[in-house]
Amino acid sequence: MNDSIYVISVSFMLIFLGGLTFHRLTSRTTPEGARALLRPSGRLALMGVLLTAAYVFSLPGVYQVLESIVPISNGTDFIAKCCAMGAVAVLGVHLAVAYGSDTAINWIVGKRGALAVVIAALGVFFTLLAAETPTPSPRLVDYADQAAVEWNEWIVLAYTAYVLGPLLLPVFRDSRKNPLQFGRLASRLIFVGFVLSIARAIAYPLELQAGGEAFYIFELVTHVSTACVVLGLWAFAFAKSRQLARKTFDTGLSIK
């Protein structure tokens, strides 16, 4: 039952994320395709690619294939987690710059941000090495009762909370004051997604107490939070492509 929930939600996320990322990379406004990744507006596409990759690598079939290539046991999980953290870092930089929040920029962009992601990646790597994981297991689910695996999982959640935390206030402010109704809705979706992600990191001790069976339910929270953030970002992209701001705040004098 839990496996089915996981497969359904991961498949949904893959279709959702993959579809939007593919659309962004191939849309008429970005005809240069993958080169879009190099531009500031391509950061979202990069985030989509990394996040989709993280989900793809966690699929049991793909995981097994990759495991035969990587030099360490369950190294694929490390790669998937690095992709996910990379996506979070790119999202953090993108939103910190967009919302113009000094606090968020100080924590997420530049040396401090880079140091945080390196520390998190090293933490994930060393906890993987410390754990006893002889056979392939996506998300290390079969070894969830080991302390090193618990730390491994928590580091990813904590890094996500580290990036999203400073963005909470600017996103919340925009969800209240954005003059465009659609913009307020988009920011609200992003805010809900961030709150869910941070809540999961804070509630991690509860997750441990709940046991392995509850893992998939908590994982579902992450999927919902990702979906909310991606939908919010899509809403901003939609508002941009349809020029909703210009249509809503027409400064013309005609009253016809």
Binding site: Y99, D174, P179, A237, I255
Partner: protein, 242 residues
Amino acid sequence: MAVSGSDFKQWLEARGITTSASELGRLTGLHRVTVGNQIRRGNVPESTVVGVARGVGMDPIAALADFKEYKDLDSRPRSPTAAEVLSQVHHADLMVELQHRFHEDLFPRNDKVRIDFPHDGSHRAWIDAIDTGDVRHDVAEKTGTAITYLFNQLSDNKLTPIQAVTAARVSGTSMVAGLVVVGLITMEEGDWPEDIRETALMVMKNEDLVELIQQRLNLLQRRLRQRKEALEYAEKLTDLIG
């Protein structure tokens, strides 16, 4: 705010009007389900009361005065003040009149005021016309509306009938005029002569006309600035994030 469902039912019975939702729908032009929902939820908009009154050939003002919220509705003369009437003239029409006064051959006077009300900013202009001091705060307090929400309503031309009547009540002006201004009842139903706006405009003194235009242009300037700022903010953010 609207009248309660039970009051509405009692009123229908007292006036010998059917309480059947489909019949009320026919009278008001609303769908029977809509009318049924309004009664069931206990929140019947004033427009439904007025619609029913019109449907049975009753004076809408007398109909509204049967409800406790509007019982003093017709207790003052119905006719509006000149300032109230002029508040319902769009600044484009005011400027046409000004041009005419500069050169009547080059700019002949219009027989009729061209732009109907409510027009953009007409609710705010009416509140300004009847304001004797702190009418906005009084209305917010008496109707239980947050003052910032009331400001937004005025900006969006969305003053409700009860707010308009309350504003008139505290300002000592015609309450019926308030309902005409928010568009709940017609000029004819409010006893406004058909050419009341043209007459008020024609007899207006030059200095008053110029002052009124200046006020309106100041408001227009502020509104345009606000729109420009909103546009810049929203566009910048959608460009950066989207």
